[in-house]
């Protein structure tokens, strides 16, 4: 028997049924005794701690808020060994990177219950002032230090742990104020273990799901990010979707209600966009309707490509932005963001934060633009643009008697062609444009440009919609805002 099986407990017959309290309590006593820090964990005290904190430091509440308001959340990866290091990291990611939810990735010794070895590596890290492990050994740190960590930021913390033995680490995380964890049994059996059976992993994760049920009973919502399955090589997102539904159903049976469900970038736009949409619909259908968890909240998060990355950071920006682009097209609610140093090693905090900024820029530019998924708006816009160009060209060529040089000179002289903010006095500068609510550029005043009536009416209509939406006229300040909007990261600042 390999050392990692040390923490195993006996497994009752497999079923998704809700655990009775006796089973959970008995199990719990055993779990908390597996390492000294377990003694500090108290459910009532933990619930009280959660309730003292601001509502939006709670993951499920933040996800619900974002879903309602149409905000798209961004969460990086990140975990280092020491408390000081991890505190500095999540603070930096929140404050400099603008992360909406910060992660705490747990190291792989802890994931495999090697708490003694973790203790040694943690102490060595503290002594040497180095971060020697691949994550935060949360069990060794214990509840009090985890609370210090969580209180260092104003955004919620999600615990990230790929393991078939999650119980004590998750107990510590929740008692320490973390309000969500990455799950669950299918993904972690397939990719984070070798010999562990599904029955065993399911039981271990049912413990976590039931613990979430207990917190819910005490008035504290705790979330789950559901992974389903998926290799880090190309695979069909349908397999991931089907497994996400199974994991969600198992978690809901124990009392969990907040689910952020993964869809992963594979690279083909059509399939990747369809993936997010199809998984959302199937999950809502099975979870909320067929299995009757009407009060379950489901949001979709888009994980980036999770296979091998280039070592070149510039190229990795391409992948990361491509993921943001197709995720936005698909209507994802959240991005889980591999850093552009993914192919290099555990990222330095600056680069990790930079990655979030690049994603934020794409999100900011695409917010509210969903029309791309339908062919019709593109066809219509193309038609109108051709109509307008022909009208301008025909008018000026007419004026120039078919000579493009004379047409140019006269066209500008009479303002049939005109442009805002020209350096030249040869341009009339009578035309004024502004963005519509989706950021498309529209004529506010065409000056003397012979824009066809149909086009102008369409443009006016689009601008009216923006004015109506923000209940404010489009004025000079709006034009100035539209000039700066891209450099500020949001296409339409209203």
């Amino acid at each position: 028997m390999s050392e990692i099986s040390a923490g195993r407990v006996a497994i009752p017959p497999l079923s998704a049924d809700r655990w009775d309290d006796a089973r959970f309590d008995a199990e719990r006593a055993k779990i908390l005794a597996t390492w000294p820090t377990g003694a500090d964990i108290d459910l009532a005290d933990a619930a009280a701690f959660h309730k003292k904190r601001a509502p939006l430091t709670n993951v499920p509440r933040k996800r619900a808020w974002a879903k309602e308001t149409g905000n798209v959340l961004i969460q990086p990866y990140g975990g280092v060994t020491t408390l000081a290091g991890q505190t500095e990291l999540i603070r930096y990611l929140a404050e400099e990177g603008g992360a909406d939810i910060v992660p705490t990735t747990i190291d792989s010794q802890t994931r495999n219950l090697k708490f003694a070895a973790a203790e040694e590596a943690l102490r060595a890290s503290e002594r040497q002032g180095a971060e020697l492990m691949n994550g935060f050994p949360i069990v060794n740190h214990g509840v009090a230090k985890t609370r210090q960590l969580v209180q260092a930021v104003e955004v919620p913390v999600e615990m990230r742990i790929g393991t078939v033995f999650p119980q004590l680490a998750v107990e510590t995380g929740f008692a320490g104020g973390m309000s969500s964890v990455t799950a669950g049994p299918i993904y972690y059996t397939a990719h984070y273990s070798r010999d562990t059976s599904f029955a065993e992993t399911i039981s271990n994760w049912q413990y976590v799901f039931r613990l979430i049920g207990r917190y819910a009973e005490l008035g504290v919502p705790i979330g789950l990010q559901i992974h389903g399955i998926g290799t880090s090589t190309p695979f069909p997102n349908t397999l991931l979707g089907a497994c996400c539904v199974l994991e969600t159903l198992m978690a809901a049976a124990q009392g969990a209600r907040s689910f952020s469900i993964d869809a992963r970038l594979m690279g083909n736009m059509v399939q990747d966009v369809a993936g997010v949409r199809a998984i959302r619909e199937v999950a809502e259908d099975y979870v909320c309707r067929r299995f009757g968890y009407h009060d379950a909240m489901i949001t979709m998060d888009r994980k980036s490509w999770s296979g091998r990355y280039p070592e070149d950071i510039a190229r990795a920006y391409g992948i990361v932005c491509y993921n943001a682009f197709t995720g936005m097209l698909a209507g994802a609610n959240e991005f889980i963001a591999n850093s552009v140093q993914e192919g290099v090693g555990i990222p330095v905090k600056e680069t990790n934060a930079d990655t979030l900024k690049a994603i934020r820029q794409v999100v900011g530019m695409m917010r509210g633009q969903q029309a791309m998924l339908q062919a019709e708006p593109v066809e219509n816009e193309t038609r109108l643009m051709k109509l307008e160009m022909s009208a301008i060209l025909d008018a000026v060529l007419d004026l120039g008697k078919g000579d493009p040089a004379r047409a140019t000179e006269l066209g500008f002289r009479y303002g049939l062609i005109d442009i805002p903010f020209a350096a030249s006095r040869q341009c009339k500068n009578e035309v004024m444009v502004a963005r519509d609510a989706e950021g498309a550029v529209r004529y506010l005043d065409p000056g003397k440009i012979p824009v066809p009536r149909e086009v102008l009416a369409y443009h006016r209509d689009c601008l009216d919609k923006r004015e109506a939406a923000r209940r404010r006229k489009i004025d000079y300040q709006t034009i100035v805002d539209d000039i700066f909007s891209i450099s500020r990261g949001i296409l339409v600042i209203d």
Binding site: I4, R111, G345
Partner: protein
């Protein structure tokens, strides 16, 4: 643990050491080894020192192929060579690859640590293609069978 028949060119025990589950790279490496006529004894992920040694003795293996990506090689590889010596297979070739450190210190430092200090024969950076270690392996096994030591290269 699955093993192939023909030991002609050599028998290699492969696995991902310690608490590490990154299995994709070693799977591709195994595939390439088989394609090149080696016999592969595959331990898969989460393989412990003892499993490597037991398998090597049982199959009279020529080499261990140790993979580690998750940054914990430093927590699991020290002591491996000594354990081999103790088990009476001190002379076995040990190669390691994947991503042996957290972040990326200078490669020469990494080599010094794992080859000079920890007694491995050869180590490879993450972007290595399977051909290179296989070429080295063929040469090293030939040298071993001819009675020469090769330690320290690559």
């Amino acid at each position: 643990m699955s093993s192939d028949p023909s030991p002609g060119k050599g028998t290699i025990v492969t696995g991902v050491i310690g608490d590490d589950v990154h299995v994709i790279g070693i799977r591709l490496m195994e595939y390439a080894l088989r394609l090149n006529g080696f016999s592969v004894v595959s331990l898969g992920p989460l393989a412990q020192k003892k499993e490597f040694i037991d398998a090597a003795i049982e199959t009279a293996a020529d080499a261990l192929f140790i993979s580690s990506l998750n940054g914990h090689a430093e927590l699991h590889i020290p002591g491996l060579r000594d354990a081999c010596v103790e088990a009476g297979i001190g002379n076995i070739l040990i190669y390691a690859g994947g991503q042996l450190t957290i972040r990326r210190p200078d490669w020469e430092e990494v080599r010094k640590r794992f080859v000079d200090e920890l007694g491995l024969d050869r180590i490879y950076p993450p972007n290595v293609s399977p051909d290179e270690p296989i070429r080295d392996l063929e040469r090293d096994i030939r040298a071993r069978r001819a009675g020469k030591s090769t330690k320290g290269a690559s």
